[in-house]
Structures are given as C-alpha cells and as structure tokens.
Amino acid sequence: MTQAEQRPLPVPQPESDFYWEKCREHELWLRRCNDCQRAYFYPRDICPHCFSRNVTWVKASGRGTLFTYAIVHRPPTPAFRDRVPYVVAIVELEEGPKMPTNLVGIEPDPAKIRVGMPVVVDFEDVSPTISLPVFRPANSA
C-alpha cells in the first residue's frame, strides 16, 4: 500500500492527548466548563461558549441520537475505496455537544437509518495507538 492509500489517522495535539488516550481505553471523554456548565466538542482548554479557562474533563455516557448522516458512495480518497458505501454522521451526545463520526452496525440504506434514532458509542481500533469513537444503533449493542 502506498502512503496515499493509507487511512488518514488523527495526530493528537497537546490539548487532545487526553481525549485520544481515553479513546484507546475505549472511553469517550468530553471537556466541560465549570463556569457555564456546558460540555463541548472538540476538546480545547478554553471554553468556546464563554471563553473561561476553568474547564474540566468528564466521562461521557456514550449515548446520543443521530443528528444527521450521509452515505458515501464515491470515495473521497483512494484510502476509502474499499470502504464505500459507508455512513458518515453527526451524533448529538446526551451531554449536549455534537460530534462527527461513522454510524456502524447498520446497513448503509436510507430506508433503515433514521435521523433521531438512539445510538451508542463503540470503538474501532485503527492503529496500536488510535481508537476511533464510532456509533451504532442503541438496540443493536
């Protein structure tokens, strides 16, 4: 496989090391602001809602609902050639934030997928150091 065909993996940054370490342990953690009390995604050290630096990490329940999705038929790069059709999604977490992800454990068929359906987190181990949080229908867990 050439470099171009390898699946692109996240390169954790200082403010996201903890997030990716927890993902590797198959746990989903969020940043939450102690001042405005809102959880947010993606992790950063200053709250995007109120600009407070008084923020903490909280473990997410892993439950949410499907906010929107799309079914990719044309691979965006050669790395995704063998994966189409696959489902990309934005999930609204129980704690409030929305996060991008893949919907797995369901046929890539608009007749089966419903915006608003309950989903739960799962983890896909894509390298020795990176596990990606993905979501599957709640009743299939």
């Binding site: 996240p10 390169v11 929107t68 799309a70 990719v72 965006p76 995704f80 991008p100 915006v115």
Partner: protein, 390 residues
C-alpha cells in the same frame, strides 16, 4: 471637483476569465491567475503599472502572485476563507481604496481543480484532520450532504429533493446560453433523478463541476473609473462573516451566516430584496443555493423549495439566478467566488447576449442591481455584495 476619497463611490471596472477555462491541463494555476489579471486589466483599459493593491485567496498568497505578476503592491490581502473569499475581497478593496491604502486593486484567482499536478499537503494536527478526516468526512460533497440531510429531516425530503432538481435543471438551462460553460447538454429532471449517488442525499447533479480556471476583478475609485474603457459597476454594499470551520461545528446546518451578511449588505446599499434584478448565488451544490436563499432572507426557513419551484430561477423565470450556468454547469475550479462577480458585472453592463437579464422596472434596459453571494469552506464563510450600474 471630485469628492473626498472617503465619500467616493468605488467601482468594478474590469473583469475576465483566463484565456481558457474548463479543462486546461497545459497551464499552471499561477498562469491562470496571470492570464485573468491580464485580461481583466485590458477589459478595464488599465495597465499593470496602475495596480497598487493585490488581493487573492487559495494556496498561493499575494507574495507569490505579486512576484509572478511583477508588481510591488502597497496594499496586500491574502484573506482565504474558501470560495467566498473573492466576494469578501470586494469589501476589503472598498475599504482599502477609501482609506487611501491603494487606488487600483486587483483581485485574482487561478486554480487547476481538475488538472493540478500537485496538491498542497494537509496539516494533520488541525481539528478537522483529527475529528472528521479519519471517518472519511473529507471534501465538500460529503460535508455538505450532511447538512442537506438535516434540512430534509426538518423540512421534508420529497420537497427538498424536488427543489434540488429544480435548481440543477434551471442552472443547466442558463449554461446552454453561455458559450464558456463546460456543461451545455440539456439536463432533464429524469437525468437528475437517475444520476448516481456521490454522497447520499447528493446525486451527481447536485454537485458542482471540478475545472481549471482563472478569474480576475479590477476595483478602483470613482475618479479612475470615469476614465476606464467600460461603464463602471458600483459596489453599493458588501459584508462578510463566518461562524464555524468544520461541518460538525456548524451552529445550524440549515442556515448559513448569510443571515447576517445579506441584510447587512442590502442595508448598506439602501436596497431591498425586491430591488434585486439578478442573484448570483454560490452553487457548490444545489443545497448550497437552497440554504443560501433562505439565509439571505429571500424567503423564510424551509420555504426555499416553494421559492424555486416551477423553474422560477431559469431563463424566462421571474427570479434570474446564476445566469452564467453556475458552479453546477459553467465552471468551478475549487474556489468559484470570483466568477459570480464576473457574471454580475457583465449582466449589469448588458454584455450577456442571449442570456441577458433585464431591469425589472424598465425592461428595455439591462439588469440594474445584482446581489452576489459567496459561500466557502463547509458552508462556513459568506460574503455578500450588492452591485449596480448607473
């Protein structure tokens, strides 16, 4: 006596594409910048020596483009926030000229979206590289289709689908009247609905072309404009903004920040939606048009499908839109925004032949007021400009 600079009206005096657009593998992106600049200056009747402000967007900053053109600008602006950037540059050019930072501003674009021999490398530490790209959320079609699905969920899939088809078919009809358009074969509703999926809910014909093209615009003072080759097109109002970068961070997938830039530009220009003879609306995707018309306030949230129904935006319809054939059928090099300006200026000058749009209040005259709206990134950034002839 001319008016003080700060009160002068600012005009677009030259526009043009590169010599060729569409599939141009034998020219580099910088060549496309330079050809478009050359042609736009010729259109204006100005010399490269007159240019003292340079604005561009994309992987090449004004440093690269100015050196290539052989100029030493005293106003420089590489604001690059996606395909909307060139409309935003209009606002910046107006401000810079009024403040005396420059007198003749050149806005250039050149991109080999189709034939580029190299692509700029991605910075892997960016938030989208960490949180979207690993999932295969890569590129505009996938990102925009996520927004579209949410719109369908909120406002009804069938009527949204019909609206997207209306936009694709109407835009192709305009392209058939534009010799420079790449896609000029007839497109039927059946063709639309039968076209393959790119990223469901997007069919092939929901998506813009990917072409090679350059475009440039020359902006200057009222005083200089009076001595140029063609009639000036005035920039009456211009506004810009952005509210996210990643599609997953978009505050509302069914509304862009056009909800702010549209009213701001209209108010600055002192005109209303009803005064607009021509709408040039960035059409990276059919959905982009739908969400933009609503966000700009041409209709309410969820009313877009009714607004564009029955080929209202096609030739002969009462809301002429994207009369060059748009990004969907004319050209879309990657950052398309500059071409919106080109078409609006040509329409206001009455240069558009078969596809000429007339003034609502005097149908013997060409269109008088145009709204130009660029959308860039993942529905992230917007620039609205109101342009008018005398």
């Amino acid at each position: 006596m001319s008016r003080p600079l700060q009160n002068q009206r600012i005009a677009i005096v030259g526009v043009d594409e590169s010599d060729e657009i569409g599939i141009v593998p034998n020219k580099s992106p910088l060549q496309l910048h330079a050809e478009a600049a050359y042609n736009a200056l010729a259109d204006a009747g100005l010399s490269i020596k007159d240019v003292d402000g340079l604005l561009t967007a994309g992987p090449f900053s004004t440093l690269v483009v100015a050196e290539y053109l052989g100029i030493e600008p005293r106003f420089t602006d590489s604001t690059s926030v996606g395909g909307s950037s060139f409309v935003i540059h209009l606002a910046h050019a107006v401000a810079a000229i009024r403040q005396g930072y420059c007198r003749v501003a050149l806005i250039t674009h050149g991109e080999s979206g189709r034939s580029a021999r190299t692509r700029p490398p991605l910075f892997q530490g960016l938030p989208d590289s960490q949180y979207e790209v690993p999932y295969g959320i890569i590129g505009a079609p996938i990102r925009y289709s996520l927004a579209c699905m949410r719109y369908m969920h909120q406002y009804g899939e069938e009527r949204t689908r019909q609206a997207m088809a209306e936009i694709a078919v109407a835009t192709r009809k305009w392209a058939q009247l534009n010799p420079k358009a790449l896609m000029r074969d007839p497109l039927t509703f059946e063709d639309y609905h039968n076209s393959r999926w790119i990223s469901y809910p997007f069919h092939l014909y929901d998506c813009c072309l990917v072409t090679d093209a350059g475009g440039a615009v020359v902006v200057t003072t009222e005083e200089v404009a009076r001595s140029c080759r063609k009639r000036p097109v005035w920039i009456l109002g211009a506004a810009e903004g952005h509210d996210h970068n990643m599609i997953s961070a978009m505050p509302d997938l069914t509304r862009t920040i056009a909800y702010r830039t549209g009213p701001a530009a209209l108010e600055q220009a002192g005109v209303t939606h009803e005064d607009i003879d021509l709408a040039m609306i960035y059409d990276s995707f059919t959905y982009t048009v739908l969400v933009t018309l609503e966000s700009l306030g041409f209709c309410g949230p969820g009313e877009g499908p009714d607004f564009v129904a029955n080929q209202r935006t096609a030739p002969g319809g009462d809301f002429p839109m994207n009369t060059n054939g748009g990004g969907l059928s004319y050209t879309h090099s990657g950052m398309y925004g500059v071409f919106l300006i080109l078409e609006a200026v040509r329409q206001l000058r009455g240069e558009c032949g078969e596809r000429q749009v007339m003034h609502k209040k005097d149908s013997s005259q060409p269109a008088k007021i145009a709204l130009v709206h660029g959308t860039g990134g993942s529905l992230s950034s917007c620039g609205t400009a109101i342009l008018a002839r005398d």
